[in-house]
Amino acid sequence: MHFSALVRSVLTLTAGAAVAVGMTGLPAQAASKKGGVLKYVVPAEPPSFDGHRETTFALIHPIAPFYSLLIRLKPDEPYKSGNFECDICTEMPKPTDGGKTYTFKIKQGIKFSDGSPVTAHDVVATYKKIIFPPKGVGSPRKAFYVMVDSVSAPDDQTVVFKLKYPSGAFIPAVANPYNFIYSKAILDKDIHWYEKNIMGSGPFLFESRQAGAHIKGKRNPNYHEKGKPYLDGFEAIFADKQSLRVQAIQGDRAAIEFRGFPPNSRDDLKKALGDKLTVQESNWNCVLIATPNQKRKPFDDVRVRRALTLAIDRWGGSQYLSKIAIVKAVGGVAFPGHELAATDDELKQLAGYGPDIKKSREEAKRLLKEAGQENLKFTLYNRAVDQPYKFVGTWLIDQWRQIGLNVDQKAEPTGPFYSNLRTKKDFDVALNFNCQAVVNPLLDVAAFVSDDKTGNQHGGYQDRELDKLFDAMNQSGDVKEQRALMRRYEKRALDEQAHQFVTLWWYRIIPHRSYVKGWHITPSHYLNQQLVTVWIDDAS
């Protein structure tokens, strides 16, 4: 197969969302109307305004509407295959040079809110800041671009990315929703300027910020997509208490919250508001992963680790736990439903995913006995956050109790939790979190490689075979080969070595006022937040 055809397939596959999104209750299409101000609640305030620097969704929700991206998920159909589209480029590029060169043409006539034109030089300055940040500039997602050799602008309308090797992970990485296009002139003067200021070319213009209270935006009359956005403006209201955010939607102080609510809040709102409420649901590209500390006995023994994963009834948990917690899909290392993810039949071949839980647990008991650990006692180290951490933690403890283990739970606030996980490493088994934006399994599965290769694996192990498989997957241009490698990788990480145990993938539930139209759920709370296509149906 020709390489460009392969990459097109990868794009299609990487979109992934399509297959995975439940799409329950997706609103019907109707003629869009102009006008109105969308009020929505955001659980936290962003630390700064610089998307290149931050990692929290609390930045995306209020700030993304002010910026353009080079490419993005199609806001009308973010859940469909092949769903990347140009934002400020003219067409999705076809790779050349054996898949190692991508050339983007930038649309003419796009302007920043200060009136200056958006050119290829701005795009290059933006991506250089992200991929090759100068000293003293933080770029947390720099590692997503390991395949990039250079980025340059031969003229005002052309951007060229040269890769070290062909990689299917490149385009999804470019589409990362944090990659706001900044002005080169401003970055040249002060590279930190965007931390405290907003000046983009997105659908909305910055109106005001009230510290800790809200951020307001108004329609950009010069937005490059004619006739859009539909809204006159938006107001992102910060409200850290979940019960208040639910009440705000019930009392119509806000129309929507874009992160997600637990099932009981959805049910309460539905009961109170009836058809005034629309619910959109989707599988979520976030998962809790139980990680045994292999620097500590007996978790250095693969038999013990395999016993722990064998005891978990994921299929049953998916059915029952999903009624009270924001988890649902059973999956392996890759986002369920994605073409690189295991099918149910393939999953059932892995330890802990078998259809007969009794048989699995018998095997678990046998392994524990063989390892001399029938009466193993340990502590599950968890983050002190209810949804879904403590719910999943409590469920896991119950699963392990069923093979005779005595497990208790220690939950700590986020700060101490991550400090311990990354530095002190004082835990038996920790419930770690992997949550990504654009579905990009080739990179998302990096949480399983050796700890000297990534700072995001906390089990304290090195597995060179796994590392080789990871590199091979990322450097392969063949989807079939990638898929086969992913199965090997998954088998080794979750079964043969049982380095870590994937629990259940998250489930995103967005109940919103029915008058909010044109917004479509995605498998990530980081995506589709420019609000370009959102409109308010005053007739509702």
Partner: protein, 326 residues
């Protein structure tokens, strides 16, 4: 009197310094740091270099003594510095929140005083009657009920009642508008502030009611009150002119302390009503490991306490001249 005031002012210095030492070192005992939280907290991958850059940028790698020196010098020169989380001036971050917390504290104090002094007085005068029992029951309920819980009940009550009444649920506004010049904003702000003022004012009034009652009962048993009655003075004058003023000494203390507490202590109540006040900022800054912001907030609240105590002491001296000569 001047000497007394000067002595009280000088006493503030060690109190403030002690608070500064405590907050600075206690904060640093909490494991983890702001950069880890900022980069790892959302579950995505991040580059180790970004973590090092973040730490260097906000100065948490500096020696402890340097950080402490900067903090104390900043406080002495009224420069609270920048928030580690937002990198914006702390004065700017605190400004609006201080205004909101002050407004809640004033409204709650007015609510509490309006309720507490008449009820406490009636309760004392009508001691051991059904009126006294009713007032005592009312105030015990107020003390027993946390104001944030009452706040939740108020919001839910409003939502359910309006839904039942009109079919359309209504809830109080969730944002404060600092511009009070338009009628819309005034309506919005009053509709926002009245409920937390009631929720906190009720608990506050309960404490003050009980204090008013017991202080007044003590005073009413004094010899000079008996003498006044023996002289045939009108009961209203005995209560208002001779008893109440003296009974106010402990009540003023309680009101002062509660007022200072409201400035930074409405941690949960502010979250319940989405009030962007100092209490909520305090919780956020502690959970974000924002050392500079937490330090500044603690010092602001301690300063409010110290100043309020100072005012109460001066009021004491004014109400009871014997105090200033001791």
């Amino acid at each position: 009197m001047y000497q007394y005031i000067l002595k009280r002012i000088l006493l503030m210095i060690p109190t403030l310094f002690g608070a500064a030492v405590l907050v600075f070192f206690l904060l640093r005992l909490i494991p983890g740091d702001i950069c880890e939280l900022r980069l790892a907290g959302s579950g995505g991958f991040f580059d180790q270099a970004a973590l090092n850059t973040c730490r260097a940028e906000i100065g948490i790698n500096d020696p402890m003594i340097v950080q402490f020196g900067k903090f104390v010098w900043g406080f002495v020169t009224f420069d609270l510095g920048k928030s580690m989380w937002t990198n914006r001036p702390i004065v700017e971050e605190i400004g609006l929140r201080f205004e909101l917390s002050l407004m809640i504290a004033i409204l709650a104090t007015i609510t509490a005083t309006i309720i507490a002094i008449p009820l406490g007085t009636i309760s004392a005068i009508k001691q051991d009657t059904w009126i006294d029992y009713a007032v005592r029951g009312f105030s015990i309920a107020g003390i027993a009920m946390p104001s944030f819980w009452l706040g939740i009940l108020i919001i839910l009550g409003i939502l359910f009642t309006t839904q039942w009444w009109s079919g359309v649920p209504w809830m109080p506004p969730i944002e404060y508008r600092p511009d009070w010049t338009s009628w819309d904003n005034i309506k919005n702000n009053l509709a926002l502030l009245i409920w937390p003022a009631l929720a906190t004012g009720y608990r506050y009034s309960a404490v003050a009611t009980r204090m008013t009652r017991s202080a007044l009962l003590d005073v009413l048993r004094e010899d000079y009150i008996r003498t006044a009655r023996a002289k045939g003075l009108v009961e209203r004058l005995i209560i208002v002119r001779h008893s109440l003023k003296n009974a106010m000494l402990p009540v003023v203390t309680v009101i002062g302390i509660e007022f200072a507490f409201l400035m930074g202590g409405l941690v949960v109540t502010e979250q319940v009503f989405n009030l962007n006040g100092l209490g909520r900022l305090f919780v956020q800054s502690v959970s974000n490991h924002d050392y500079t912001m937490t330090q500044a907030l603690v010092m602001v609240v301690v300063s409010v306490f110290v100043f309020t105590n100072f005012v109460v002491d001066v009021l004491y001296a004014w109400l009871d001249p014997r105090i200033r000569y001791r």
